[in-house]
Symmetry: C2
Subunit: 237 residues, 2 copies
């Protein structure tokens, strides 16, 4: 790992994403209920971290904004560790501008409204009601930027049913360029593999069940192609 880090640091930026800045979010967010309790989700961060690694190998400068995960920092990547959705948005804000934004994190949709002192359980009391409020939608927020909008904004959809319909809806509603749709009914949370469907305005491309590293390499190759195509259509190249 040290050898690779040194190689990465010394290597001249080359590869299909050389000169590009890519921001990747990864992992879950943790939303505090009180100082000891929190709401979490089962995202392992494996897919997001694999994408950050693949983008760095493709020559990009990569900022990885990661929720709490049990993964080593990928070599050659600048890692910002956060806990909550609001911290994640702030870290993405600070990392912009970028050519590509990849929202692979499983950002909590809601946080607890009044997270404060430790909730004491008292005998006879009924359990507390947890009032939730909406978290910022980081993907939609980044996609709606004006001059600061990355050329490519890519989101993930994890669904247990109606996967492609939900992914298409998300693509249009959040104005993103590509949705990577995963069926999470089959236990891929925390697993090493994904069955990914790439949903764009043009249509759907379904990949076989692949290792998350392989999904990451293919996605990075696709991103390079899309950036070239978008430059050809009148970008600043």
């Amino acid at each position: 790992a040290i050898v690779r880090a040194v190689q990465t640091a010394l290597a001249p930026a080359s590869g299909p994403l050389a000169g590009r800045h890519v921001i990747v979010t990864s992992g879950p967010t943790h939303e505090p209920i009180d100082p000891v309790r929190y709401i979490a989700n089962r995202s392992s961060g494996k897919q997001g971290h694999a994408i950050a690694t693949a983008a760095a190998r493709a020559g990009a400068r990569v900022t990885l904004v990661s929720g709490p995960v049990n993964l080593p920092d990928p070599a050659g990547v600048e890692v910002r560790r956060v806990e909550t959705a609001r911290e994640m948005l702030a870290a993405v804000d600070a990392a912009l501008p970028a050519d590509v934004f990849i929202g692979a994190a499983a950002v909590a949709d809601w946080r607890v409204e009044a997270a404060g002192d430790k909730i004491k359980k008292k005998k006879g009391d009924s359990p507390p009601a947890l009032a939730l409020v909406e978290n910022p939608d980081i993907l939609a927020d980044v996609a709606a930027r004006g001059r600061e909008r990355p050329r490519l904004v890519i989101g993930f959809a994890a669904e247990t049913e109606n996967l492609l319909a939900h992914a298409r809806d998300k693509l249009v509603r959040k104005r993103v360029d590509l949705i990577v749709a995963n069926d999470v009914g089959s236990g891929v949370f925390g697993a090493g593999e994904n069955e990914a469907h790439l949903v764009t305005a043009e249509g759907v491309e379904s990949w076989p069940r692949l290792g998350k590293d392989e999904v990451a390499s293919r996605l990075v190759a696709r991103i390079a192609t899309m950036l070239e195509a978008s430059a050809g259509k009148g970008g600043a190249a």
Copy 2:
């Protein structure tokens, strides 16, 4: 680690807890909200795992019932992995009878009433309300057993204020023999050290800030003394 495991397996049971069965719970519990979201807490399991290790070194047969942690299984200990409070209680039930029960896990006081399908966030919908219901109180449950009650039932209290008053209250209310009280206002969740106060019916003994391994060894030595004393007072010994 392999050498130690073999030594432990081959060594004749000797030491101050030889011939005793000790059940230790450790770590947090995770209470599902839906298939991907859950409520967690910041317990690392370090203290509970250290106690299981120390009890095994003292010659005890140890069953460690652990919530989700990122710790290796201690050598020479039988480990049962669980996720929720109800699963933890069932595993403790299955492991009884025992001479000593040490409830070091941070068991969630509440679970989500109707954890079911993945909650879909829809635009314009207000956030869901999470209705909570009380979880079983594993410590009080074990302490209230009749013939199956372990000779020593030991609990933990983690408080941010009025530490000793809360610990004394817990001791009496749950009918346990010893409460290890920790001040969690000082960031010991996940840290390597604890400042422990041992609260019994006889009084309070305060220890200096110590490594969790050292807290574990001292607690195990204290348990051996208490078992001897209780045998002297008319136990079956």
